[in-house]
Amino acid sequence: MASPSTFLTEAMRQQAIGQESPPVCLEVEKGAIIKFAQAIGDGNPLFNDEAAARKTSYGGLIAPPTFLRSLGQIRPDLPFDIPLHRVLDGGSDWEYFQPVRPCDRITAVARITDLRERSGRLGLMLISTIVTTYRNQFDEVVATQTNTTIRY
């Protein structure tokens, strides 16, 4: 199927910006943190060893910086159908405010903050900027992730 040369109108763009995902929740289990650290090949005791982590200023095991990707890359639905069905992750910009710890209950909401189209090597691409806000059970923002999602 040939891609169209242009797709996005300003009205569609304005309709998409501000779209939010339903909240996504994760109960953070210690075993899941350790499995995640093992999967990325990171043996840091802070993420793997409760006894060693207790002796640090964190006072116990914490999650590695990108652990919150365990909630998935949340992508709010676009309020229209698009002819582009393949998805690539373009990159992420994380800001961290609080460590994520075992037994935290994290709630994430993702919001589209920008949408643009571009023609490139992959043909027509629709590029969304999505800001995901992660809060813990104390309603503290633990992190935000600004992600670039490419549909082509």
Binding site: I40, D93, W94, Y96
Partner: protein, 146 residues
């Protein structure tokens, strides 16, 4: 536990200790399981090729994790990562080593915190920066009895 890095030990222009990673398809499957990202381009060869790719490719988020480790290994247990940013410019395939590298671009104090900004990236065996990024770390200072 790794040695602690103090803010006073850091100078602008300093290089971070490189982090060598040898990702395998097995690791991509392990990461798929741990992260819940089961998109087939990361472990099913035919599916990846059907999507116009040379082979299965690393999850962008796994490369993001490698850059996180580059920072947390360097910062030591009392450091706190404030910001971690990267862009996936080039694809990386399992079976090909990639190295995380970085340099300190700025050292400063702000709101009572002792901060350093770094330029960080993953590069392949050809020296191409497939995953450039930036990071900010807060480090303990000897001046406050850290």
């Amino acid at each position: 536990m790794a040695e602690q890095l103090y803010w006073e030990d850091v100078a602008e222009g300093m290089e971070l200790p490189p982090l060598v990673k040898n990702p395998t398809t097995r690791q991509l499957v392990q990461y798929a399981g741990a992260s819940g990202d089961f998109y087939e381009i990361h472990y099913a060869l035919e599916y990846a090729r059907g999507n116009g790719l040379e082979g299965v490719i690393l999850h962008g988020a796994l490369k993001n994790a490698f850059l996180g480790q580059l920072m947390t290994d360097w910062m030591g247990p009392q450091g706190a990562l404030k910001r971690l940013s990267c862009q996936y410019r080039g694809m990386d395939l399992p079976g090909r080593p990639i190295t995380g590298k970085g340099t300190v671009t700025r050292k400063y104090q702000q709101d009572g915190q002792f901060l350093v900004d770094c330029a960080i990236w993953l590069e392949n065996a050809q020296g191409e920066k497939t995953t450039p990024g930036t990071a900010t770390a807060a480090l303990p200072s000897r001046s406050v009895g850290g």
